[in-house]
Structures are given as C-alpha cells and as structure tokens.
C-alpha cells in the first residue's frame, strides 16, 4: 500500500497519507511532510528525537504533532528519515523521529513555513485511515 502522495495546486502544496492504523497513518504523514523538504531516504537514522503531544480531538492532534515535527526540522535543524508513533491515553501520542542533524550535504528543496487547517482531513476508511494536510511554503 502506498504510504503517501503529494498534492499540488497553484500556490498550495500538501499531501495525503495512508495507513492501516492511526499510528501508521500519523507516521506516514511525518514522512510525507519531510518529503516536501528533502528526500527522506537520503537521510540516515543514526540519531533520534522524541516528541510528545496531546489535543482535544484527532484533527487538532494531527496539526499539533506535525507542528512539533516541523519545529524539530526548522528550529533544531534535525531531519527525520522515519517516524514511529505510539498512541497514548485520549488524544495524545509519543513519536520517535529517526534521522540526523542537517548538514550542507543534504539536498534541502524548500522550507515549509507552517502546517495549515486548509481542507484538513483525518478520516477512517474501509481499509484503514487517511490524512490530508496542506502546508505553507
């Protein structure tokens, strides 16, 4: 099964992510976000960052979680290659990002300024879950 696909309109860029479980679709959403910035497969998994985040509903959790991932990338210059997500009580999660500190060798295509609520979707489908997010670049 495809993990994600990039969506692009005139001035917008975003992605859809898919997964059999909420954990999987959230992990794939982080990889989709990273793929807009750089090639996640070209980043090693030698270091980790852990983020914990909680919310009042799934959509809010999704946005807050991706905001945390983005802060790790832009604020801490850490590029994640792969992500593991563990759901906690209520609408909260712990995610471990495997990646490395950004160096001049990484081909970073663009900065992502922020995660938006534009046409945001986090839904259950017959065969799992699907997420849609647009970002500002």
């Amino acid at each position: 099964m495809r993990k994600y696909r990039i969506l692009e309109h005139t001035a917008d860029i975003g992605f859809e992510a898919y997964g059999a479980s909420r954990e999987e679709v959230l992990a794939n959403a982080a990889t989709a976000l990273v793929s807009i910035i750089t090639d996640p497969d070209a980043v090693s998994t030698k270091d980790t960052r852990t983020i914990e985040v909680g919310a009042d509903d799934w959509e809010q959790l999704l946005v807050r979680y991706l905001n945390e991932v983005l802060y790790v990338i832009d604020g801490e210059s850490f590029l994640p290659s792969k992500t593991e997500v563990e759901l906690m009580k209520g609408y909260s999660l712990r995610a471990v990002l495997y990646g490395e500190t950004r160096t001049g060798d990484h081909d970073v295509r663009t900065d992502v300024k922020a995660i938006t609520y534009h046409q945001l979707l986090f839904e259950k489908k017959d065969q799992g879950y699907s997420i849609r997010v647009f970002v500002d670049i």
Partner: protein, 476 residues
C-alpha cells in the same frame, strides 16, 4: 457567474446572497482577464468566507493579484470593528510583515553593468540566503526581546544603517504596541538563528534599473530617475513569524469554542479583538513585524557595505519599506463616519494618499510609496497611494503578481539551465542558492504584474510612478 456583477470599471461585486452568513459583500478589483483567473480557484469562496467574520465593516476586498490562499485569499483586505469584531491570525498569514524595501543608488545603469557579476557574488556571500542558513549575529535573550519591541530602531542602534532610514519605513520601522512577552520561546529560538537572512521561496534581492517614469513629481520626491540603478529586497519575519502564527492559530482554535464563533474554514480561526487572546496575538504580531523590519534593515546594511566596497561613493539611500502581510488599527471612513478599524492586509499593501498624516513628511505632498515586486526577472513597480484607496479599499492596494502555476509545473516546464540562459539573454544575471528554487519561481509561474498594476492605477487605489527592470537577482 451568479451573484457576481460588474459595478463599473475594474470593479466586481460578489453579492452577500452568494453564501449564507456573509456580513457584507465581496468586492473584487480586476479586469476581465484577471477576474477569469480569480474565478478559476477558490478565491471567491474565500472572499465570501472572510465576509462572514464578526464585525466586518464594509466589503471583503480582493485585489487584482488575488489567488487562493489559506483561510483568506492572498490579495485580501478586510476591516473589522475593534469593539465587536474579530482578529484572525490567518488574515495576516504565516509570513508576518513579509514586505518590500527599495534602495536607490547614485549610479546609472552604464556604471554598474560591468560590475554586476562581482556585485552578485559579493552580495551572495554577505547575505545569508536559501533554506537553513543562519544569520551571523548570535543574539542573547535580551537582544531578541529588544529586536521584537523596537524593530528597525534596534538595528540602527546596533550599527546597521542610519537614523534617517527610520523615517522611510512604514511605522518608522517600529510598531510600538509590540510585546516580546507575547512571543513564545520557541518562536524566539527560531528568530535568534534567522535574524538577518533572506530565506527561500519567493523571497529575493534584485539589482534593478528604473526603466520608465510615469509621474515626474512623485519620482523626484522618491529620489528616482530613468536609468538609475536601485536595489529591491523582498523578505519577511522568517521562522519567528511562522511560529507566532502557528502558536496563535492553535490558541484561536480553542478560542472558537470559548467565544462561540462558528466558521466555514478553520484556517480563518479568530477571536474578539478585545479579548485576552486577541490582544496577545496583536502584540505578538507587532513584535514579529518589528523583527521583519530589523531583518530588512540588516540586509540593507550588508548591501550598502558591498556597494561601498566595490564601487566608489556607492551610498544607497533607503527610499521606502512597506509591509504586505499585516493587521493594523487605522482611521477610516465607515457608514458611521470616520473611526478606528482593524485592517487585515493579507498580500495587500498600505497605500495612503498625499496629505495623509501617516505619510512621512518628505513624501506627504505626493503620497506614500508603494512597492510592487514582480516575479523573478520581470518588472517591479513603484506606485504612490491615491485618494480612492481611502474611499474603497481601507487605504490598500495590490502587492505583487500573484502565482498562476504550481511549483511542480513551473519546474517541469523549464530546466534551470534553460531558465538561466533565457534570463541571461534578456540581460538578467542570477545567483541562486538552489536550482530547483529558481525554476519554481520562474516568471511564467506568475500572473502578469503589468495588468495587475494597471488595474489599481485605473481604479485610483494607487498611481504608477516608475517601472523597474532587473539586471541581477539573488534568490534563496
């Protein structure tokens, strides 16, 4: 289209019957061709959504460069009543005080032509640009707070520029209501690293030539003449502003429940202007705007430094600096007489006319300078604010060309080498941090800036003063 009618030259009305819940009409400034582009994406829906904001005064306005954005369209203007209206973080956007600054050189194009390559090389070295580049000055916590509260004044005090520069910046480069305590530590951390950087995307620095003058009196007042070399800088508040918008969007989502506000689009999240959250946002937004003024001031200083090093008597005079993503309290005419309103400008520029008390002394007789960057390698414009902006658009005009093509298509349509060759053939040299960044921002990806400017000129929102064409481009 139903509910959309022409209401005279270059004006269209989107009736409030378009969608239930609109508190006013939509008004679109455009010609037929630009309107066609505007109706192709979700711009009109977004104009209608903005008209649903509580306390909207007058129309929800779209400029001729309008295109679909997040929440508000890009090229949108909306004024609200400060007493019973709302402030929306999405109504300013993530790049708070993204703006433009123009520097005038004492050189003619013939003086500069032989030195363009060298100037670009040195500017590229002196000004950090592209993704992930850090500024050269590592700020302490106290210093970042000073930047946030005093903006360009902080920069001048620390040796980046001259006192006189401050007179030639919107708000004199310092929005006084800023409060650094309303900005999160996370935003400050991003800001500390990125102060004094150009960034990537559509941000640029261009060496340009004044190629046409349309209004001699205003051009003279702005210190511009045909054949003169100028520098245009387009950047904003970097990761600090993005983080402030992100933080307050989250807070405003919670505010929707607290203040029982229902909205058609969560990206429009808003809270009452006179609420703790609204007050916090406006003070943090002002602080981010100050950061952007300081950022452009530092980049100006390094640009001057390079010109002075390479060319004799190369002093660059600051012409003006305007914001095009901002919300401000201003006095405007309303149905209930002149009063203070909160104007959101998302991809729109203040355009105060001659005689307005907020136009700096030296330009008051001709109107506030308005700077319209074109896309990379095409023309940019200097305009002057006109009286009609006060009657029809809350003292606002357009901000640029507006994107017309996706980044992917733009990159697919032309290779970096082809693009560089094409630009080179038309006399434009380019120094870019990323080849992909170049093709994504290629000129064909944008609407025609000339027709955008013609519409605001004909509609009397601002008048054409001069056209600038690039000879050298620095891209992030």
């Amino acid at each position: 289209m139903k509910n959309l009618e022409s209401i005279g030259r270059y004006r269209y009305r989107l009736s409030k019957t378009y969608r239930e819940g609109m508190n006013g009409d939509g008004k679109i400034f455009a010609n037929e061709k630009l309107l066609e582009a505007i109706t192709k994406d979700q711009t009109l829906d977004q104009v209608a959504n903005v008209a649903m904001l509580n306390g909207l005064i007058g129309d929800s306005i779209a400029m001729p460069d309008a295109h679909q954005g997040y929440g508000f369209c890009i090229g949108g203007v909306a004024a609200v009543d400060p007493d019973d209206g709302v402030v929306s973080a999405g109504g300013v956007g993530f790049d708070i005080n993204c703006g433009v600054r123009l520097l005038a050189s004492p050189f003619e194009v013939s003086d500069i032509k032989p030195h363009v390559d060298q100037l670009l090389e040195e500017l590229f070295k002196a000004i950090p640009c592209g993704t992930g580049k850090e500024g050269p000055r590592k700020l302490s916590e106290k210093e970042i707070n000073d930047v946030l509260e005093t903006g360009a004044r902080w920069a001048v005090k620390n040796g980046y520029g001259e006192d006189i520069d401050l007179n030639r910046i919107e708000e004199n480069g310092t929005i006084k209501s800023a409060d650094a305590a309303k900005v999160s530590n996370r935003a400050k951390q991003r800001g500390i690293k990125q102060l004094g950087t150009l960034g990537s995307g559509n941000h640029f620095l261009e060496i340009q030539v004044v190629d046409s003058v349309y209004d001699d009196e205003a051009a003279q007042a702005f210190g511009l003449h045909k054949g003169q070399v100028v520098v245009l800088i387009h950047t904003g508040s970097r990761g600090l502003g993005h983080q402030v918008c992100t933080d307050y969007l989250d807070l405003m989502q919670q505010g929707l429940k607290k203040y029982k506000i229902s909205l058609p689009d969560r990206q429009l999240a808003c809270v009452p202007v006179r609420s703790e959250e609204g007050d916090g946002y406006l003070k943090a937004m002002a602080a981010s705007a100050n950061f952007a003024f300081a950022n452009r001031q530092m980049i100006t200083h390094w640009t001057r430094d390079v010109f002075n090093r390479l060319l004799k008597n190369g002093n660059l005079r600051l012409v003006y600096d305007v914001a095009h993503n901002i919300a401000k309290f201003e006095k405007h005419k309303t149905g209930n007489g002149e009063r203070e309103v909160l104007v959101h400008r998302k991809g729109a520029t203040r355009a105060f006319p001659k005689g307005h008390p907020d136009v700096t002394d030296e330009y008051r007789s001709v109107g506030q300078p308005v700077l319209i960057p074109g896309s990379m390698g095409t023309s940019s414009y200097v305009l002057a604010g006109e009286e009609n902006s006060m009657n029809e658009s809350f003292g606002s005009t357009c901000h640029g060309a507006g994107r017309a093509m996706s980044r992917k298509k733009a990159s697919r349509d032309i290779s970096a080498n082809e693009l560089l060759q094409r630009l080179n053939q038309s006399g434009v040299k380019v120094r870019g941090a990323s080849k992909r960044g170049l093709t994504e921002e290629q000129p064909d990806a944008y609407k025609d800036v000339e027709s955008v400017v013609d519409v605001v000129h004909e509609a009397g929102l601002s008048r054409k003063v001069a056209r600038l064409i690039p000879i050298g481009v620095i891209k992030g």
